[in-house]
Amino acid sequence: MMHFQRFLAAAGFIAVVIALTLLVPRPSDAIPAFSRQYQTSCSTCHLDFPKLNDFGKAFKDAGFKFPKDDQTFLKLPPVMLGAPAQKDLWPNTIWPGTIPGMPPIGLRMNNFFQVSGRHANDFNQLNPAGTPVGTVGGSPYVPRTDFETGLFSIFTAGNFGSGIAFWVDDDISVAGDNSAGGLGDGYLKFVDISRFVHLPKDSLSLRAGRFELDLPFTQARSINLSSYDIYDEANVGAMNSIVPLQQFVNNQFGFADVANGLELSGGHQYGGYHYSIAVVNQNTSGISQSANTSTFVPSATGGANGGLGFASDSNFKDIYSRLSYRFNLERDSASRKAVQAAGATGPRDHTYLSLGSYYFYGRSVQRLAGVLIDNTTPAVVTAREPFYRVGGDFSFNFRTFNLFGLYMYGHDRNQLPIDANGNVIVLPITTSSPLPVGFISGRSATFDGGFLQADYLALPWIMLIGRYDAVNSTADRINGLAMAQNTSFAVPFPATRNRITPGVQILIHANIKAGFEYQIRPKQSVTFATNSSGFPVALAPFRSNAATVGLEWVY
């Protein structure tokens, strides 16, 4: 009884501390990197951070500056790296620039609490018979409820003058142990270089470094707690030896992966046209830059011990392009062309309809130990499998309601390995398989899908979210069949895996928010039977729904 009273007292104390932490108002407002420089709130640029409002989009387009008269808004004057008059001496002097008056640093931290569906441990039925769930040799036990450490990130961005913007962000720690942390974006953007070649203003900018592609809807700066399924879809062809469809596609490329390269872009995100064309490294095997080194090959960016390593896994460079047009729908012409619309009770985001399309082209490479056509001389045989991702997107905004969606079609050419007799080698390749000498084209590996999302800012601090994700992939289904016995994880039984994800986010302050998301996932199964037609039939299908609560703050 005494212990119980102590427990109650401790629980009550903790509850009060948490309540005070969350509810007691504080005098300060959000002050990440740009807030500090301009002494303005997060809500100047964000609806529900990190989602940008129209002003935030214009600020980003301008190279992390106010679109006009930036210097009059800066509360921390920049440090001059040379007097402006030095420009008159160029090329006999360094072109003068600036750096921010203080390091423009923002920090971000989040934590989560997750509730898993009661069927989460049903996947462990795939363990060998007799292996108790949650023991050594079996899969880890999946708890129903779980507190999780998220990521701790640093991001720094700003402008060096002369229209040169910079951005660097890095996940210092992920899941509390730094196991998966790493650099996010790190680039310089030369804004409006069109002025040097007598093109219309803002029609041409150059970005160089490491960046998220100019996606229709960003993944890196999404408000959602979970990522878009279609962005994470790697096209891994059907490898199951018991079904007739054979695909030798193993493309780990994900649409939201960070890219290394160059990008040309132009136009504005807050109205009118916008385009981008990027040439980026190809890396479809998922090898990391630091791991792609050779002790025997000197690197141009380092010593003979590999230097920085290589970020690509092939010679080919991928190409990404995007074109969109946003129609602002206000009747008043001046309001329509302004960064923000002039509402009766104050500026607000435009009512608009945006339509866009995108196209990504690359060539996935797989190399095998094989032989020449003489079937004797060892050789490395290389399958180069061109692939593309293409699709369209739309976004409609009315006041604080935003409906947007994206469709994607993915296609990878399928190069099947053949032996010296011209016969297709049965996949997957094993030590007893004949050595490949080359490849022939088979049935391509394809998938499609997308998402549809509605955001409604019910109050300036409450964002309601409804989202539908769909991915249609035959390969996903075949590779995930329990009958294959070579997978420890089941994927949705039907070719379509889709989910519905309602959510809500609450801004406790402009820089602190609590988010909730409930994922209604498709039916899955780990036990199958065969029907009279010989096709597998799922037994006892179940849903592995999950709920997540996130607490995030930036400062």
């Binding site: 407002d29 301009y38 002494q39 303005t40 709130s41 809500s43 100047t44 002003f55 106010f66 679109p67 006009k68 008269d69 009059t72 808004f73 509360k75 001046a334 302004a338 960064v339 923000q340 002039a342 509402g343 009766a344 009770t345 104050g346 500026p347 607000r348 402009a510």
Partner: protein, 191 residues
């Protein structure tokens, strides 16, 4: 002779008038923030509304001046010198939400005017830059003063008599107290 008597009468009248009015001065001590001192009520007929307009600008994401004092019936011209869109609204006047008002949006270089017929504290806000803050103190009488940076203030030419003086300080609850003016009066207060 008659002329001299008239001049003497005028002189005596002037001396008498000066003797019946004085200044209220003093110091409002506080760590930081602006202070405003005003009389709640003055004897005699109500003062006519001032004809001059007062100005309040939005510049560099701030209201300038941060605190403006006007007499009741005064008109304020709100301007926008920034190249970004602003608006001005107040959710209440001295807590009375029925007196809330939104002036909407107007472009750089233009102005909107508003006449404040109700005395009280008007907290100014901008609905796109939530950090922006300003105040208009609408004094019920023409006897008011905005304290300087050191907290010193003077309300000149206050007729002799007994009044209630109110001191408003940013971030604090207004404080009222009786004061008697007899040639002059002193008021010191700390927040």
């Amino acid at each position: 002779m008659k002329r001299n008597l008239i001049m003497l009468g005028i002189a005596l009248g002037l001396v008498s008038a000066v003797a019946q009015a004085g200044d209220i001065s003093g110091k409002i001590s506080a760590a930081q923030g602006a202070s405003v001192v005003y009389l709640d009520k003055a004897a005699g007929k109500a003062s006519p509304a001032p004809t001059q307009h007062f100005s309040l600008d939005q510049r560099s994401l701030s209201f300038q001046p941060h605190v403006l004092v006007i007499p009741v019936g005064g008109t304020v011209d709100f301007t926008n010198s920034d190249s970004v869109a602003h608006n001005v609204f107040w959710p209440a006047i001295s807590g009375n939400r029925k007196l809330s008002h939104n002036l909407g949006t107007w472009p750089q270089g233009e102005k909107r005017s508003y006449t404040f017929d109700s005395p009280g504290v008007v907290p100014l806000l901008c609905n796109v830059h939530s950090e922006m803050s300003g105040y208009i103190i609408v004094s019920p009488t023409p006897y008011y003063a905005l304290a300087d940076a050191a907290g010193n203030f003077t309300i000149p030419n206050v007729p002799d008599g007994s009044y209630t003086v109110t001191v408003w300080h940013e971030g604090a609850k207004p404080v009222s107290k009786p004061i008697t003016v007899n040639g002059s009066a002193k008021l010191d207060m700390s927040f």
